[in-house]
Symmetry: none
Subunit: 199 residues, 4 copies
DNA sequence: GATGAATGAGTATTCATTCAT
DNA sequence: TATGAATGAATACTCATTCAT
């Protein structure tokens, strides 16, 4: 999987790497990409130099956080595709799970969207793979009549981000992503007319 | 209300103030709150000191931009309430108009949500007023059966931000906020069950 | 001459600029390019930001120092060419003057040679102009039989750097560049044979 | 005097030491003293800690490189003194040999001169010894009338550095140290007058 | 009032040195 | 002993804010 390290990292080094990544994930999520690296280092309990040993630049660290997120999503989509379930349930189940997981990662979603997203080639690949797999999941759900036909995978991706954005707004009141699920309702087939029929 | 200015600004001072505000609005929208003040000053064609004369801190400038946005929204909601139209049409018309206006201001919506939103008391007041007015608009639409009952004003606010977020994702393909309207469909009454019935 | 500033700098700004340049010249000469910018700022009595306002990068500051040096040399060569004097005297007089002037600037000569000399286009131009003018001075001296024929302008340039290098070695003992003049003797016509006859 | 090594180094340790020294010599020569120790370690194929085991500080490593250079020069001067040859030939032959050898080591000469040359006592001793031996070589050449009388050993040392400096300037064109030999011509006896007669 | 130069605290990054494995 | 990960001081550069002109 990971071919960047010729030989496995020493135990303590890997521990540090994980701690930095974990701390960075939280920090980026909570405070955006503007959080100082020194602060991340401090919270992770390591020196500033250690952060730079593992992630040569701040962007590299950010990208790694994004990458981990994408990998998790890819695993989730694969699981949803493998499960022998009704297509619509598989689709909305995936959305629901993502929303649930995205507890602390939510702001990350925004960060991904917001920033110029200086993603490297490897990250682009991962994203493309995810898009393709997700496309399959969507198509099956549409063919089963569980999702409206006038949206494509990119639309849904946008809606997902939107749902996360919405869900995040209600820190306390919104139990278990109710608002996110409300937004997902816009993906249901329209009884009578095309999109925007409500206007 | 505003007692910061004892006497009306000189004509040139007011012109400068307007130019700075306008430039800041665009800059914050396009590049986020991280844009340097010097850059805003340069684009507005004034010196850095002039920006600080009108807006003592960067936050103050940002907040003023937010405030103007809120004021515009308040005016729009009032107009929607005043018009003797069908309640659902008024409600969705307002959403559509907001979406359309938010062309370049979209990133601002996010900025507002994203940042710690260091809003002052005056801004809070404005927001509260807007919430109340908007609540009326929503209630009327719900009473007319045009909007599902299980959402409140805060939910809708979140959905609006979500719609803007979604709409922004599709730079080229999304003509005239189609995606935003798709998201708004989630506000329509559910034919059969409660929110989240799709899962 | 200087076309970088649209309008003349304010009096205090120009004063600061001059002080920074002067301080940098001494600092680079005495301690090489490794001297911290903060140190230069401190010695010049300005803040670090002020140095960066006038010279966006450290390299830019270094290059400006080099440029000033080149300009001075160019002026000197021009003067040597204009004077209606015996060609050999003009040539060696120029060398002697350069040596004398180069009191504190000597280490600079080395710095110029030593570093990768990240010189910009404008500096290259200046250097080319200097080379051409100096070539004329040399040619006249050679035609007058005052300088050996088997060296070209680039050789002499190298010898000059060498002479400065040599002269610098003897901090106390070497009065008025005696050692530099010794080195310059290698440029005199050889009585009998070609270069390297001494080996 | 040197009590750092109680017992002879283990074979592999000595091999490492030699590799580090050799790598450092090349690195300092090519890129100056600013080259990172990590880089030297990497090129030598050892860990950073190993460099520090053999040379406690970077300066210590640098000084050791200088010391080796001085030792080589001392051997060369001794050889020149021992050879029963004409004094002038011995002297200039030594200079020529040094120049030839100094192919890649040239930048080192400069590094030695340039840096504050933080040489320790042991290095000072070596340098003193070299100076004395070299003084003998010079004196014999002067007594034989092969070298001008108005220079002393320190002058010549400076001229040597100057020659190396000059020779380095002409990357391609200067075959086999021609320019260095030109500079050495300044050491020949002046036909008529004192040093600097050309001015 | 307007200008833009000066300030200086803050940030990412490098690197000599130390230390756990 | 060797390794290379960790440290943290140092350094170039940015930018909000202040102030002289």
């Amino acid at each position: 999987m990971s071919d960047r390290q010729q030989r496995p990292l020493r135990a303590d080094a890997r521990r540090n790497r994980e701690r930095i990544l974990h701390t960075a994930r939280d920090a980026f999520a909570a405070e955006g990409i503007a959080v100082p690296l020194d602060e991340i280092a401090r919270r992770a309990g390591v020196g500033a130099g250690t952060v730079h040993r593992h992630f040569p630049t701040k962007e590299a660290l950010f990208e790694e956080v994004v990458r981990e997120h994408l990998e998790q999503l890819t695993r989730d989509v694969r699981a949803a595709l493998d499960v022998e379930a009704e297509a619509g349930a598989a689709f909305f189940g995936f959305l629901a799970r993502m929303t649930a997981e995205a507890d602390a990662k939510q702001d990350l979603a925004e960060a991904i969207t917001a920033a110029g997203s200086p993603v490297g080639a490897r990250t682009e690949e991962l994203a493309a793979e995810l898009r393709e797999l997700f496309g399959s999941l969507l198509l099956r759900a549409q063919q089963a009549g569980a999702v409206r036909d006038d949206v494509d995978a990119a639309d849904v991706q946008a809606v997902v981000v939107a749902a996360l954005t919405a869900g995040r707004r209600r820190d306390a009141g919104d139990r278990s992503g109710r608002l996110a699920r409300v937004v997902f309702d816009c993906l249901l087939p329209r009884p009578s007319g095309p999109a925007g029929s409500g206007a």
